[in-house]
Subunit: 489 residues, 2 copies
């Protein structure tokens, strides 16, 4: 894999990956065994352990400059943030390609509801392929989001080094792997600003945290949605009340919350917040046509999660794919108020709560959307429950990003995947959010290539999260070939 | 307090209560220190302890037949119920009055939200009177509901025995004090049927679990509302989903729940369940006039719980008192679904839950109302979220009861309170539910006198529950005088 391309070295890298797959998977299992839940302060030590583990991998891949960097005072873990692994490899002297910033995250989502896991979330197991079901796979929290996907990059580094004797095959890499992606990347902004000197000459970012079009159909994602995440509380009377003595004399905060949130969408399932759609860009006829050609089967997708076709739901006038990739949405991620334990308690609670988040597209700004939602919530609550007090908390947000499909870096990734998988990748978008892409665009002016190998049914953020080994394999090879393609630019 | 009335003995009983008040309060403190939370299986042993404590009091009051009776297999504590204290005193040979069944409960509500308690709920404290606020009072879970009120009866028993040397002053008493009132009295029906032989010749029931009209204004309650308590769950897809990948493609069960429950009331705040009002009886002009004369101040009541007058809410066309005493209501006692922990989780949960209860009046039957609600919920859910599954659980229910105000027993209670408190009691109703009254009417054919001394701001079922000592004092005296009045019948 010399400059200009060396087919023999490229082949050797692919062979190395095949021959060493068992060891690669074992390394992933080791990492997945560390419960690095970033949102819960109880796991702080484990999160750090996952960072140190990752830094060791980079050292073994030949990186000389590897740092586990502490992060700022306002971290999600109460007082101090989770560390960011920052590593640099200068590339070969004769390397002429782009300086690539690889970004990933080693933290994971909480595991609840824990009772629905078939095996403990941090004791990874390999399950065999099922007839007409998922293929051979590794099951654990973080299997695909994002440890498994970062591992494809780490194993590709090992492979190309074995094949070329050069760190990263000679590519100039900066690696930044954070531990707060699942809790809003609250310290990343400041970190990127503080490390601007180290990051400023990066040309392009590579992120492996997205999905394929379908099993066996790789894809490059050229757009992600933004996110605005909030928590709202409706405060009624200053104490819990007996529902017998007060029922019929005061508004129940749970009822008020239900009434307010029931107005979040109109009868077309459009979000009713004034100005919500102001900066949404209409789909171009070409884009609509290209997406229609992907023949996405919503009925099949619903079937996999146990719902009939009649359960298809979303903004009217758009296809399911358009609704996920190009339209903003509002979700009630959590709701709670009053007595929720076993048995009965005849209470009218003093307050009711909800976690409400928005997926954003095009130029929708998270702060602006959050502000507009808070205005709407406060105003609607005043209508529904006069005298009640609305409390609104902005938990975090991130910009959505869309990349030009004709970028030379994206095209290099496209060729790499073609070579590795023997099939042309689809160009798709995702409804998920990778706020770091928006941050890097804003702070460093660089674009991001999303080269991910997850599947729609990987149970991301859910019990029994999995990553299929065939996907892992395609991802390792594609990342190795991408390193080769970069040396040819 | 001999048969036919003995003013000297009556006076001696009142004096005994005054002189021994400190000891009476200390006994109450001892009882309140036992955390007898019936709905939570973790407190099973404590509940039993509270029963045994109560049985000891009855023995000390001279009752010879005192039993702590085990209750049936389907108890709320998983497999076996909490005990019922059953005691009997045959009365004097020359007693000609009614055989009185005294009913109370020694179990208490859960304490959450525990963080709002100013002192630990099971470490009772005496707080001094506040200027323009509550009087000197005992603060603890169960202070007024119902240990403190049962204690008035127990102390009256001590007083009249001291004054007359007769158990209960010579009145024929059966005492039944249960431990599952706060968790639906699930074993009481069977218990009453099993003990029919012991209970069948009771003439009237006395319950002390209600409130006064206001501070210093005693009352007899001649009607209570019924209750139907349910738990409903909306099941959507068979797993939690990532709100990015699925937001805009499936209905969120939390949103579906909010939409369904937002339809529970119409724009007149009437419950929309078909047939809900079928058996509700309209207020008579006389009743409306009598209640208006009580000059209940809803604005003042709202102010005490921190709400402006504008927060007055309920079925339109009825006064606040009418809404509480004579109209049925629907409440969302609890709601929960999705991620409710600290921080953010971008999830679309697989299901959402609510505890929904109804206060019933007149001839509304709990089972019938529950059935109608489940039909409505299932149908509305199908409209709001096609393909979702509604799961409905009937937790418990009880009939409402209204008594004739010209009953000789009620009139005896009226005279007793007049003598004890120096003021005529008001005849009122309550919006709360005491299902045992409906049960006793149905099973034994007897009516109930509700003679309670709670206040509207006693924080029943809430943090910092209290019972004012002046109320306790009036209650002890009124119960002693009632024993005297009974001997005169």
């Amino acid at each position: 894999m010399a400059i200009g391309g060396n087919e023999r070295a490229a082949k050797a890298a692919l062979e190395w990956l095949s021959e060493n797959e068992a060891a690669s998977v074992q390394r992933l299992i080791d990492w997945l065994s560390i419960p690095s839940i970033s949102t819960d302060p109880a796991y702080k030590v484990e999160v750090k352990r996952a960072a140190v583990w990752c830094a060791e991998q980079l050292k073994e891949a030949g990186f000389k400059e590897v740092e586990v960097c502490a992060t700022g005072e306002s971290g999600s873990a109460g007082g101090e943030g989770h560390p960011i692994v920052l590593a640099h490899s200068p590339g070969s002297a004769d390397y002429k390609g782009p300086h690539v910033l690889f970004y990933g995250h080693y933290d994971v989502q909480p595991v609840d509801p824990i009772e629905l896991w078939e095996s403990p979330p941090f004791q990874p197991v390999i399950r065999e392929a099922e007839k007409d079901g998922p293929g051979r796979r590794i099951v654990a929290r973080g299997a695909v989001d994002d440890k498994g996907q970062v591992m494809m990059f780490l194993e590709a580094l090992r492979a190309v080094r074995a094949a070329t004797d050069k760190v990263g095959g000679g590519v100039k890499f900066t690696v930044m792997i954070e531990g707060e992606e699942e809790s809003g990347s609250v310290n990343l902004d400041r970190f990127v600003r503080e490390k601007r000197a180290a990051l400023k000459d990066c040309d392009v970012c590579l992120i492996s945290d997205t999905g394929m079009l379908a099993r066996g159909k790789p894809a490059i994602t050229y757009g992600v949605r933004g996110l605005a995440y909030t928590e709202v509380t409706l405060h009624g009377q200053n104490q819990d009340l007996h529902s017998g003595m007060w029922g019929g004399r005061v508004m129940n905060p749970n009822l008020a919350m239900a009434k307010v949130l029931s107005r979040l969408h109109d009868d077309q399932n459009r979000v009713t917040i004034p100005g919500f759609y102001d900066k949404v860009v209409a789909l171009s006829p070409d884009e609509r046509k290209a997406w229609d050609a992907l023949k996405f089967d919503q009925g099949e997708a619903l079937k996999k999660i146990g719902l009939p076709a009649a359960s298809d739901w979303g903004e009217k006038g758009f296809s399911p794919l358009e609704r996920e990739w190009a339209r903003p949405t509002a979700e009630i991620n959590g709701i709670w108020g009053g007595y929720t334990g076993p048995g009965a308690k005849t209470v009218i609670p003093s307050h009711s709560n909800a976690k409400v988040s928005f997926r954003l597209v095009a130029d929708q700004d998270p702060e602006e959307i959050t502000r507009k939602f808070f205005d709407w919530f406060t105003k609607t609550a005043a209508e529904v429950a006069p005298g009640f007090r609305a409390e609104c908390k902005d938990l975090h947000g991130g910009l959505g990003v869309t990349l030009p499909t004709d970028s030379v870096h994206l095209q290099a990734a496209r060729r790499a995947i073609s070579r590795a998988c023997g099939t042309e990748p689809a160009l798709i978008k995702t409804g998920g959010s990778i706020p770091v892409a928006g941050l890097l665009k804003r702070e460093l002016g660089i674009s991001t290539i999303f080269m991910g190998f997850g599947l729609d049914d990987d149970r991301v953020h859910s019990p029994n999260e999995k990553f299929e080994l065939e996907c892992f394999r395609m991802g390792c090879k594609s990342h190795a070939m991408f390193m080769d393609e970069l040396t040819r630019l």
